[in-house]
């Protein structure tokens, strides 16, 4: 039973309108570019997308927003997207903002089979409204539920045919967490290798969490904030 798919279109073929999808990446760093293109191409609708950010107008999840494929966005920061703002203000798009660490840990909880976690993030703020709180050792915590998502789509640097993944630098971010959390996890990689090509001590996501894997094409890896020092 091979996990290897040839194209992004094949790998995402059974995602249906109305699905909940976790999408890895932080800003435009480490985002599943090929899968997003395939979702845009396929014209899926009414998606609930969970991702730390919502891309920019013409890249990342922004491409899905432009096609009005997203019904609800769950994110921690959605700053850089005019179309997003327009849809939000017009009521076309539903948005749920949650603290970044809570987002990360709710993914991890799903991957670890923990139904809920306790975090102090949001105590005393509007994030806590309607949520159960509990005091441990004199400190108050919110009870936050593990994500329950149909699909997780992540992007790794290297992968093997067993689904094992290695991420590069800060492109790791939410990717391994979301990989653990999807009922079906689809990984796109820059380089797909045979079993045994990756050092078993260096793998970030064990293949058991990855159901489908394919080698992506022509990664743009767009930079959102190019900050540099002048050449000397």
């Amino acid at each position: 039973m091979s996990k290897v798919f040839t194209t992004a279109a094949d790998a995402i073929a059974d995602i249906k309108d109305g699905s909940t999808i976790l999408l890895g990446g932080f800003g435009l760093c480490g985002i599943p570019e090929n899968s997003i293109s395939a979702i845009v191409e396929k014209g899926l609708k009414n998606l609930t997308c969970v991702s730390n950010n919502a891309g920019v107008d013409d890249f990342g999840i922004g491409l899905m927003l432009k096609q009005k494929q997203v019904k609800k966005m769950i994110a921690s920061y959605v700053g850089e997207n005019a179309e997003f703002e327009r849809q939000l203000l017009s009521g076309e798009l539903e948005v749920e903002l949650i603290p970044q660490g809570t987002l990360a840990t709710r993914c991890m909880a799903a991957g670890y089979g923990m139904p809920a976690i306790f975090t102090p993030a949001g105590i005393g703020t509007e994030v806590a409204i309607g949520k159960e709180t509990r005091i441990f050792n004199g400190k108050e915590y919110l009870l936050e539920m593990a994500f329950d998502a149909d699909f997780a789509i992540v992007k790794a640097w290297k992968g093997d045919v067993m689904g094992n993944l290695i991420f590069r630098e800060t492109a790791r971010n939410f990717n391994p967490l979301m990989a653990m959390a999807g009922k079906i996890t689809i990984a796109e990689v820059e380089e797909l290798l045979p079993a045994g090509a990756l050092d078993p001590d260096h793998i970030h996501t064990p293949g058991i969490y990855v159901h489908r894997i394919f080698q992506g094409k022509s990664y743009e890896k767009r930079i959102e904030q190019r900050t540099v020092q002048p050449k000397k």
Binding site: L28, A104, G124, Q225
Partner: protein, 220 residues
Amino acid sequence: MALDKFQIAQRIAKELKDGYYVNLGIGIPTLVANYIPAGINVVLQSENGLLGMGPFPIEGEEDPDLINAGKQTITTVPGSVFFDSATSFGMIRSGKVDLTVLGAMEVSENGDIANWKIPGKMVKGMGGAMDLVASAKNIIVAMMHTNPKGESKLLPKCDLPLTGINCVKKIVTDLAVLSVTPEGFKLLERAPGVSIDEIKQKTAGKLIIEGEVPEIECNS
């Protein structure tokens, strides 16, 4: 004379101790990295998943896989380590980060902070701010003493939606250094030439002044 943003950063840098792990927020806090005192080694954490953040890359050496929590291209220093975002907030939540420096729109006299949302304006989100303020053991706020309308940002109670409660330990503004105490804002230092009266007038929350209040030492 009020401090400029570089001088605020410089003053905050004096709070750093050798061996500290530090998380610097966007804006003035980022500048603190430029003023780390000689002989003091600190490790900068970026909450997207990095310990050991270095300066911006030399032009042409930007790496799209290597950014900080502000999404800026950066570099690493020797001994750096990458990890996922749950691990990153795990180390924040478990109190392993010694100092967090961040900006604020309002701080209240009991240490509440508001810095993520203005009603009526497009809400961009809290990012990692709520996690940081809920967990950090030592939080210093870097901000202007007043808002653009001239109104005090040090209040009896925050008006804006809160980011976190009872968490700010110290505030460094263009006018003063203050600590948050059970009794209110305690004035520790004032900007060179800034009078205690001016600070009193621009601090809406309860201000505690005891004895002589020294001027902030500015090197530049």
